[in-house]
C-alpha cells in the first residue's frame, strides 16, 4: 500500500512511472483528543510509512516518557506541535499533516474539537473535500458531533466518513455500531451531505483503518483508507460554467497581454467567447499560455495565462465568464458569516471584503439572525461574536461578480478584513444577491431613498457653525476625509469655492449673505437628494433649515472663544463682539450658531485634526452617520 513496495527496490523507474498518476485529497478530522483523533492520524502517518527512523526513535522515547499507552507507542505524540502552548495565544492554528499511498497524496487538516476552536475548524474545512467525523463508540453522538457536522456542511463538504472509533472498548458490537449509524443518519438528513459512510474502527488496534479488521466480520464496507483512496475528488466546480478571476496582468512587451489566474470553475478553450463580468465587454480566447506550451483546454484548478483576440483592458480582480452564463453582479448581498475575531462584528462598521483577487469596501448592514452551531437553530442577535455564525446583509462600495457559495466555493467565498488592524475578522459564504442589483438593468424610479441606498448611507447635511480662524473650512475638510475613508459618499460645499463659482455674480463689496446662503442651501439640498452626505462650510447669519428634513440636518458648532479668534484673525474686515455676529464672506469666516446645535465641540486651542476626530466620533455616537435600520430592513 505505501511506498514500501518491492517495486521501489527493484525497478525505481517503473515505480516513478506509476506515481505520475496520483491524485490528491484534502480531508479534515473532526473530534477531540478523547475520541482518539490524534491516535487515528498518527496511525495513518505511521502505517503509510512516512515516519523516519529518527522520528521513530524519538516517538518510542517520548511514548515511554509522556505517552498514555504504557509500554506501547502513543501515536498521538507524533502530532505534537509548537513549543509554545495554546496559552501563549496561538489560537488560530490548523495543523496540516501529510501522507501518501500508491494511489493518492493526502493532506489532513487537524484542529481541536472544542467550541472555542470553531474558527479553526472552519478554516481547516474550507479547503477540504471530505470530513472524517470521529465518534467514541461508548459515548455515541455528542453535542460536538452535531456542531462539527453542521460546520463542515456549512463550509461545503459533502462527503462524510463517520468513524465510529474505540470499537474495541465496546466488544466490537455490531448492534452498537448500527445504533450510532442510524442515529447519525437521522440527524444529518438535513445537512445536505451527498454521502455518509460509517466505518467501525479502532485507531489503537488498527481495525478497519488500512486492512479489514478481523474483529468485525459483520462489517462489509470499505476500510478508512480504502474509502479515502477511492472517493472521487473532482469537485463540482468542474461541471460549472467557466469562471476565472484575473490575478495578474502579464505584459512583458507591447505585443503580449496575458491575463493570469486560476480557473475557478468549468473549462476554457481557445476560441471560446468570454465576457468581463462587471463591464460586459466580450471577446474570444486566443491562446492558453503556459511555460510548457499552449494548452488546448484548461480546467478548474489550473493556473494559466489567457490571451484574448481583442485588445481589452482588464484589471486584476475582474472575472472572466462565458457571455451566456454570467455570475451574479451586485453591490449588496446576503451571506453566512463566521466571525473569526475577538472583537465582535458590529453592523454598520466599515470593513474590506476580499473575494479572490477583488478587494472592496464593505459594510455589514444587518445581522438578520445567528445560527446556533450546537442546536442549528436560528436565533436573533445584535452582534456576532467570535466563533458565531450569522446571516448578514453586506453592502459593498461597488458591485462585484460572484456565484452563490453552494454552487462554487471559489467564487462564492470571501473574507472580511478590519481596516485598522488588517486582521482577518470574518469568513463569508454568499447566499444570494440582495434586492435589485441582480446584474440586470431595470427601469426603476430613482428617488432620494434609492440613491441613498445605492450608496449605503443616509443623506445628511452637516452645517458647520462657529467662530474659527482658518475655517470651519479646514475642519470640515478633515471631517470629510475621515468620512470618506470610512466608506461614506460625501461632498464639501466650501463658501470660498462657491464665491468663486456659483456666487461669482454676487456683490462682495456690499455683501449679500442672504442670497449667498440661499444658493448654498439649495445646492446642499440637491446634493442631499443625490444621496450624499453634504458638509457645508459657509458663512451665514442664518440658514434655511426648513428646506431639509429634520433628521437630515445636523448643525455642527465648533465652539471657539472670540478672544482666540481675534488673536488669530487676519482679515481686517472682521468685526465681532460678544453677542453680536456679523457675517463676512471670506476666509476668516464667522458663522452664527443656532439655539441648539446638534453637535458642539470645543475649538479653542485645539488642532483641526483633533476637532475633526471629535466631530466624527460624535457623528457615530449619535447614530447620525450610521445607517438607519430602515435602510437595511427587508423590502
Amino acid at each position: 500500500m505505501a511506498h514500501q513496495s518491492d517495486l521501489i527496490a527493484e525497478d525505481i523507474h517503473a515505480y516513478l512511472k506509476s506515481q505520475e498518476e496520483k491524485s490528491m485529497l484534502r480531508f479534515i478530522t473532526c473530534g477531540s483528543v478523547d475520541d482518539g483523533k490524534s491516535t487515528l492520524i498518527g496511525r495513518l502517518l505511521w502505517d503509510s510509512k512516512m515516519i523516519f527512523e529518527d522520528q521513530l526513535a524519538a516517538l518510542r522515547a517520548d511514548s515511554k516518557r509522556v505517552g498514555t499507552q504504557g509500554e506501547g507507542i502513543d501515536y498521538a505524540l507524533l502530532l505534537d506541535g509548537l513549543q509554545a502552548e495554546r496559552e501563549q495565544g496561538i489560537t488560530i492554528d490548523v495543523a496540516y499533516h501529510f501522507f501518501s499511498t500508491d494511489k493518492r497524496k493526502f493532506i489532513v487538516a487537524d484542529t481541536p474539537g472544542h467550541e472555542q476552536y470553531t474558527r479553526n475548524m472552519v478554516t481547516g474545512a474550507s479547503t477540504a473535500q471530505v470530513a472524517v467525523i470521529l465518534i467514541d463508540a461508548r459515548k455515541g453522538l455528542l453535542t460536538q458531533t452535531r456542531r462539527h457536522s453542521y460546520l463542515v456542511s456549512l463550509v461545503g463538504i459533502r462527503h462524510i466518513v463517520l468513524a465510529i472509533n474505540k470499537m474495541d472498548l465496546v466488544g466490537y458490537d455490531a448492534a452498537r455500531f448500527e445504533e450510532i449509524r442510524r442515529e447519525y443518519e437521522a440527524f444529518a438528513a438535513g445537512l445536505g451531505f451527498a454521502e455518509v459512510v460509517a466505518i467501525p474502527i479502532s485507531a489503537l488496534q488498527g481495525d478497519n483503518l488500512l486492512a479489514q479488521g478481523a474483529n468485525t466480520p459483520w462489517y462489509n464496507g470499505p476500510t478508512l483508507m480504502e474509502y479515502l483512496e477511492t472517493v472521487p475528488v473532482a469537485g463540482a466546480a468542474a461541471d460549472r460554467p467557466f469562471r476565472m478571476r484575473v490575478q495578474w496582468v502579464n505584459r512583458p512587451h507591447l505585443d503580449f497581454r496575458g491575463f493570469c489566474g486560476t480557473v475557478a470553475a468549468g473549462t476554457i478553450r481557445p476560441g471560446d467567447a468570454v465576457a468581463v463580468a462587471s463591464s460586459g465587454q466580450t471577446s474570444r480566447v486566443a491562446r492558453i499560455v503556459t511555460m510548457d506550451g499552449d494548452l488546448d483546454e484548461a480546467v478548474a484548478g489550473q493556473a494559466v495565462t489567457l490571451t484574448l483576440v481583442d485588445e481589452i483592458d482588464i484589471s486584476r480582480g475582474e472575472m472572466l465568464t462565458p457571455p451566456e452564463e454570467r455570475p451574479c453582479l451586485a453591490d449588496s448581498l446576503e451571506a453566512k458569516i463566521v466571525w473569526m475575531h475577538e472583537e465582535p462584528l458590529v453592523p454598520g462598521r466599515s470593513y474590506l471584503l476580499k473575494a479572490g483577487a477583488t478587494t472592496v469596501p464593505a459594510q455589514v448592514r444587518e445581522l438578520s439572525c445567528k445560527v446556533n452551531v450546537n442546536t442549528l437553530r436560528h436565533e436573533p442577535g445584535k452582534i456576532l461574536a467570535l466563533n458565531e455564525v450569522g446571516v448578514c446583509t453586506v453592502s459593498l462600495g461597488r458591485s462585484i461578480p460572484f456565484d452563490p457559495y453552494r454552487e462554487n466555493r471559489g467564487t462564492g467565498s470571501f473574507i472580511l478584513i478590519d481596516r485598522m488592524s488588517n486582521a482577518t475578522v470574518g469568513a463569508g459564504m454568499i447566499e444570494r444577491p440582495r434586492q435589485r442589483a441582480a446584474g440586470h438593468w431595470l427601469a426603476i424610479e430613482l428617488d432620494k431613498k434609492a440613491r441613498a441606498e445605492h450608496k449605503g448611507q443616509k443623506p445628511r447635511v452637516l452645517w458647520f457653525t462657529g467662530l474659527s480662524e482658518t475655517g470651519t473650512s479646514s475642519v470640515a475638510n478633515l471631517v470629510e476625509k475621515k468620512l470618506h475613508c470610512l466608506g461614506r459618499h460625501t461632498y464639501l460645499l466650501d463658501g470660498e469655492v462657491l464665491r468663486r463659482g456659483l456666487n461669482r455674480d454676487l456683490d462682495h463689496a456690499d455683501p449679500d449673505p442672504v442670497e449667498h446662503v440661499r444658493r448654498a442651501t439649495e445646492t446642499a439640498r440637491i446634493l442631499a437628494d443625490a444621496g450624499l452626505i453634504v458638509l457645508v462650510a459657509v458663512t451665514a447669519p442664518c440658514r434655511n433649515e426648513q428646506l431639509f428634513a429634520p433628521e437630515e440636518f445636523v448643525e455642527i458648532f465648533v465652539d471657539t472663544p472670540l478672544v482666540v479668534c481675534e488673536k488669530r484673525a487676519s482679515d481686517p474686515h472682521r468685526k465681532a463682539g460678544a453677542g453680536e455676529v456679523r457675517a463676512v464672506i471670506g476666509s476668516a469666516a464667522i458663522c452664527a450658531r443656532s439655539e441648539k446645535p446638534q453637535i458642539t465641540v470645543a475649538g479653542g486651542g485645539r488642532a483641526p485634526e483633533e476637532i475633526a476626530e471629535r466631530i466624527v466620533a460624535e457623528l457615530f455616537d449619535g447614530g447620525i452617520a450610521e445607517d438607519d435600520a430602515l435602510l437595511g430592513s427587508g423590502i
Binding site: 511506498h3 521501489i8 527496490a9 525505481i12 523507474h13 516513478l16 506515481q19 505520475e20 496520483k22 491524485s23 490528491m24 512516512m50 523516519f52 527512523e53 529518527d54 505534537d80 506541535g81 509548537l82 513549543q83 501563549q88 495565544g89 496561538i90 488560530i92 492554528d93 490548523v94 495543523a95 496540516y96 499533516h97 501529510f98 501518501s100 497524496k105 478554516t123 479547503t127 473532482a234 490575478q247 495578474w248 502579464n250 505584459r251 512583458p252 493570469c260 489566474g261 486560476t262 499560455v289 503556459t290 510548457d292 484548478g301 489550473q302 493556473a303 486584476r316 474590506l352 476580499k354 479572490g356 483577487a357 466555493r409 467565498s413 473574507i415 478584513i417 486582521a423 482577518t424 469568513a427
Partner: protein
C-alpha cells in the same frame, strides 16, 4: 483530464506566487540554492511566463557555502535570466565569524539570520518567498502560507491570520512584511518527484560521487576548501557520498551513498529511514530550535 497531485500542487503554488507579486510592492525570493529553491525558482518561471520573474532572487551568502553551490547559483542566474542579489553580513565577515571558532549556533545567528535581516531592511522588501514546507519539522505543521513579520522581522503569534479557501489577506502596515511559503503543502517526496519529472537542474552535491571527507562529531564533513583545519587524529578519506540537504559545508553532514542519478536518489530517499533535517547540525542545538529561530526572524 484530471490533474495529478503534482499538477495540483504546482497550480496552487503558482497562485500564491502571483498573489504575492500582485499585492506587495517589493517582493523577493529567498534563494538558498538547494532543491526546494530550485523548485521554487521553476514555479516562479512558470507563474510569470512569458514575462520575466518580476522580483529578484536573494542569496544570503554566509561565506561558508559549498563552492559548488556558488558556481551553480551564478550559472542559474545567467541561464534563467533572473536578477540575483547576493548579500553578506560584512561586519560578521570582517570579524572572521565562522562555525569552527564561534560554534554553529552563534555563527548561524550572525551570518545567516542577521545577514537575512540586514538584506531585508536594506532593500525594503515587503514580502519574501521562502521554500519552507510544513512536513519539514513538527513546528512547521501549523505554519500558514503567509507569515506576518513586524518591522524588526519578528514573528508574533498574535498577528498571524487564518487562511481560508485560497484567499490571502495581504494587507500590511508600512514597515511590516511577510514571508510567503509557496511549497507549504509539498512533501520531500513531492519535491524530488517534481524535480525528476520537470528535469529541474540541481546542485551536483545531491548526487553521489567520490569526495574528500572527514569524520567529525558523528558526521561526514566535506573538505570543501583549505579553511577546514584538521583536528589531531582526523584523516581525509575519499568516499562516495552525497548530501540530502545543503547548507554551510562545516555544518552539513554527507551520507554514504552510490545514488548518482535522480531515480536512485529518490529510491534511496524512499528506502532510507532518516528524516531530511537530521543532517543539519543547527537543528540539534537547542530545544525547539527551529521555532526559536522562527521567532528570531530566521524563518
Amino acid at each position: 483530464m484530471k490533474p495529478t497531485h503534482l499538477q495540483q500542487l504546482e497550480a496552487e503554488s503558482i497562485h500564491v506566487l502571483r498573489e504575492v507579486a500582485a499585492e506587495f510592492e517589493n517582493p523577493v525570493m529567498l534563494y538558498s540554492i538547494g532543491k526546494d529553491s530550485a523548485v521554487m525558482l521553476h514555479l516562479a518561471r512558470k507563474a510569470f511566463f512569458p514575462g520575466k520573474i518580476p522580483f529578484p532572487l536573494l542569496h544570503v551568502d554566509t561565506t561558508w557555502k559549498f563552492r559548488e553551490m556558488i558556481e551553480f547559483r551564478d550559472r542559474m542566474a545567467r541561464d534563467c535570466g533572473f536578477e540575483l542579489l547576493v548579500h553578506r553580513n560584512e561586519e560578521g565577515a570582517r570579524q572572521g565569524v565562522n562555525p569552527f571558532t564561534h560554534g554553529s549556533a552563534l555563527y548561524t545567528d550572525i551570518m545567516k539570520t542577521e545577514g537575512l535581516k540586514q538584506a531585508l531592511t536594506k532593500y525594503h522588501f515587503d514580502a519574501a518567498f521562502g521554500g519552507a514546507r510544513r512536513d519539514e519539522e513538527k513546528s512547521r505543521a501549523k505554519e500558514r502560507i503567509f507569515s506576518f513579520r513586524t518591522e524588526t522581522h519578528r514573528w508574533d503569534p498574535k498577528s498571524q491570520r487564518p487562511e481560508l479557501w485560497n484567499i490571502y489577506n495581504a494587507r500590511v502596515r508600512p514597515g511590516e512584511s511577510i514571508r510567503a511559503f509557496p511549497l507549504s503543502n509539498w512533501t520531500e517526496l513531492d519535491v524530488w518527484q517534481y524535480i525528476y519529472l520537470e528535469a529541474i537542474p540541481i546542485v551536483p552535491l545531491y548526487h553521489a560521487k567520490e569526495r574528500p571527507v572527514v569524520e567529525r562529531d558523528g558526521m561526514l564533513i566535506l573538505v570543501d576548501d583549505d579553511r577546514l583545519k584538521l583536528r589531531p587524529g582526523e584523516q581525509v578519506r575519499m568516499k562516495s557520498v552525497r548530501f540530502r540537504t545543503l547548507g554551510c559545508y562545516p555544518l552539513t553532514g554527507a551520507v554514504e551513498s552510490t545514488a548518482a542519478i535522480l531515480p536512485e536518489i529518490i529510491q534511496e530517499m524512499l528506502l532510507t529511514r532518516s528524516s531530511e533535517r537530521q543532517g543539519r547540525l543547527i537543528d540539534h542545538d537547542q530545544a525547539g530550535s527551529m521555532e526559536k529561530k522562527k521567532q528570531e526572524g530566521y524563518f
